[in-house]
Every structure is written in C-alpha cells, then in structure tokens.
Amino acid sequence: MSETTHGTGGLTFDASRRVWPNELNIFGALVLIVLIFEVLGALLMGQSFLFDTQGRFGSIFNEQRLYIIILQVSIVGIIAIGVTQVIISGGIDLSSGSVVGATAMIAMSFAQVAEVNGHPNPKAVFGPAFMDLPVIVPVVVGLACGLVAGLINGLLIAYTRIPPFIATLGMMVTARGVAKWWSKGQPISFPTDSYAMIGNGLGGWMPVFIFVGLAILFQLILKYTVYGKHTYAIGSNEDAARMSGIKVARHKVLVYVIAGMLAALAALVLSSKNLTAQAGMGVMYELDAIAMAVIGGVSLSGGRGSVVGTVLGALIFGVIISGFTFLRLDAYYQEMVKGAIIVGAVVLDQYRQRFASQR
C-alpha cells in the first residue's frame, strides 16, 4: 500500500511522528531513579545499590535487594493490575484496600487448623466442621468475596449511573466494616499448611510468581481480546462505544468484577504470607495501587495505559522504598517523595497529552 503513504491536501505523514511507546519513557524513569540511588550510594554509603560489589551473592547483582524490591510491591501490584483496567475504562476503584481486609478475614476463617501444638485453635471462628478444610475452600470463598464486591460496584456504576468515585467509596467504607464485624475485631490466625503455601511457596517467591503471571496474562488480554479493546474504547469515548453497539453497562460490570477478584486474590496471598488476617489489612492499598498505575502511565481520564506500564510503575515504587531504606533515610521522607512522584507523574501525563494534541 505504498500509494497510501502520502496524503492529499495537507494530510501528509511524517515518519518522525511515529508513536514512541510510553512504556519506554517509564522504563527510562526507572533506570534514572536506580542511577540516582547508585550515585547517592557511592557518595554517601560507599556501596552499590543494586550491584553486588562485595561478592556476597556470587553474581553481579545484589540479589537480596532485587528480591525485596519486587516482593514488597507484588501484593499491591496484583491489585494494581485490576485497578489499571478500571482506570483505562474511565473509572476508579477506591474499594480494593477494604476488599483486601474483608476477604482476608473471611477466607482465613475457612483456612484454619483444628489444633495448634496439641491445643484447640484459640483463634477459631467456626466450629470443628470448618477446620482443616482443603485449600480450595478458602480460595473459592475468598474469590467469591471479591466477585460480590466487584459486582456491587459494577452494578451501581453501570445501572444507577452514580460516579465510580462515590460507588467505590461506599464499598470502601462498607467492606472495612465487614472486615471489623466478621470476628468482632479479633485477628484470625493459624492457617493450614497448604493455605500458607499461597504466600510462602516456591521458597518465598510465590507472590512474585502470581503477580508476574497475572501481569503477563492481563497484558495479553488487554491487547489481544475483544474485552481489552472494548475497555479502551469505553474509556476513550463512552458515547462512541455505545453507538458502536458495545454493551457498555455489561462491560463495566465485568471490569469491576475482575478488579474485585484481583483484590481478593491479593488478600489471599497477603493473609497467607503473614499467617494471619486482621481487620486493618490493606488500608491505603487502593491508593498505592492507583499510584502505581498512574506512575506507570495509565491516564486518569481513561483510554490510555497498559499493564506493562503499571508493572514498571510498581517497580519504581519498590525501588524508591528500598532506596530510602538503603540510604538509611527516615520512612517519613519516603511518603513525602512518593506523594511528589504521584503528582509529578500526572503533571507529566497532562503535559504529554497537550503536546500530542498540538502536533
């Protein structure tokens, strides 16, 4: 089709305007932040941030640090994969942190052992009939919790047309209430060994494995399936999507259900990894997940972004937290810098958008 590479009138095509994937910019930012910590590390601490300069690991990298960087973001990262889809569709989900809390409590109470060191389980929620259940039971119960929360969010948003912000804010408060009411505020502990594997299996790499696997799966789904295409279309121009025959309401319900179930999965991994569930689990996770997506280039106005971007955003998050620990700076500074980076990412996105529409 070489004859279509020139236009009539003023419609000429300039190859230099070919789209440069935004993910490369974010990857550049990640490399830049690592470099800053390397330089600061060399100047202030006299050691390398990511590289193994003291021969402790027998490889060129500081493997311990790499593991911590990715492990500490993988649980919130699982949530962020769902939040990414919600934001691309033009919505927002504030309920994921509370859904983590409620799901952790409910799932954990179906994952308890009958006896601890020869004594009856002191944290038992249900009677003996609900002890030592196969691991599939708490997993299914947990995912069902996420499904119900997502379904309520989605139905409210799609059919009552209340803003996603309000609907999910309501769910955020409600689900936190459920988490506290479930065991009257008591933590639930002593899970079965098989449940404990969800967060501790594969030599502790299980959360990372689940996060990366889901990220790859949903990156492919968003890019190569009808579901993905419609998610972008609805976030880009909801009226156009409706006029094109997309069942917008039904699709939105599906998006929020997937987000709810991913939050529930994060709750299973988190409670399993900690071997306990508490009503306060997951507080502020929704904001961290949104921040990861935004840093990763997911546009809050909808229609743009990718799971790969969110994964890079999550890694930027992890690098900053590890970097501050590495430099032995106070945790207070971490939060301040995190806040500044979130705002900076949105400002950059706005600037880029204006620049793109001008050419």
Partner: protein
Amino acid sequence: MSDDVILETRDLTKHYGGVHALEGANFILRRGEHVAIMGDNGAGKSTFVRQITGVEQPTRGQIIFDGIPRQFSGPIDAREAGIETVFQTLALADDLDVPDNLFLGREKTLFNLGPFSILDYRAMREATLRGLERTAVKIPNIRNKIRNMSGGQRQCVAIARTATFHSKLTIMDEPTAALGVQETAQVENIIRTLKETGEPLILISHNMRQVFDLVDRIVVFRRGRIVANLNKQETDPQDVVAYITGAKTGAEYQDAA
C-alpha cells in the same frame, strides 16, 4: 414498490409531546441516487434522519428499506440492516487506531471465547485497507491513533466505515461543517467516489455550492414537512432558498404547507 428503490418512508411522523417535529414525510431514495436534505434549523431534517437510523422510533408511519418494512429498535439494528451513518459528532474513540475504530463493536475474531475472544488484527487491517481503497480515502498510517489526526482525517475514517462494511445506504449529517477548505475537498471527492460506485447517499448540508456540486436531487424540509422535491437540473440556488424560507412551496405539497 419497484426494485430500484432502496429506501421509502410513508407518512413518517414524529411528535415530541405536543411538538410535531416531523409530519407525514413521504420520501423515496433509489439505488445509486444521491439526495440532499436541506432546510432551516428545526425544519425536521435531523428528526427525519433519527427515525430512519433507529436512534428514535417514529410516532407513526412506515420505513421500507431494501424492500422490507422495518422497525429499528436502535442504531445497531439499522446498521445491521445496512444503513451506515456519519454523525455530526464523530463517533470515534480517540485512543484507538483506524481499524480498531472501523470494527468497534463488530470485531473480527480468531476464536470465539465470549468477551475474551482473540482479535484477528490482520484480517481487520486488510479489510480496512480494502475499504479505504474503495472510497479513495487516503490516510497516511492506519495504525495512527485518531487523537493524532486532523479533523479531515477523522471525518474520512468515519466515512470509510461505510465502504468497509458494504452498507447499502450512507447517511452523512453535515460532514464538512467543521472542516477546512482542503479537507472539505477531500470529503467531497470521497462522496463522488461513492456516486461512481453506485452507493446511495443521503446528505444533510447547509452548503448550497456543495449540494449542487454533489447530488442528483434536493428535498427541502420546512416546519416538520417536506415542501419540495427538486431535480438538480430543474432548479437553482435561489429557487431552493425560496423553498427553504417559505416563499415557495412545491405544487404537490400545497396542502401540506
């Protein structure tokens, strides 16, 4: 009804409460024919189009399209029957590229897995190129996002939908209202290509020069009624203006006015 009629409306009427927006419209479009609908704002042009594209349902009257009486329950219905509309407000998703937009809501898939069906990008790209070729629409790079395109290119993408889906009737609602001189010329060229390939068209336009350049017949609406049905050869712009403003009414429509 003869075989060469693609669209006929009989006594098509739409009332919004007490407002008679469209009253007893009898309209005929033959295959391969290009007809302009003219009239002042509020004359009933858009109401007429909304009935035949399924956006609204008429109060009374019949729509016969392609030989079959139709009752469209929505725009998707009309589109599936073969009526493709280029809306004044472009129904395009800015963050998607050209094939994505053309196939929005009717994607080609490799395997049917419900919402998770795998998209057949290659087939959609090839169909897009064929459609663009047929309309002589030139878009430099079909993988460019709509956001990065000019108004003319966007309009061309919207028009190219028609050719891609072998629609039986194209309706354009002021397709060049927001375009510059060169872009308008390009859209008009596409309309001429449609004429050459025998695709019927209903064009709503306020631009007298454009109408006389492009169409075979002009139908004038005034105050919800059709007041004139003029062959281009037998009329001139002053005449059409007289019908639009109400200075004249077609002989066969005397009772309506």
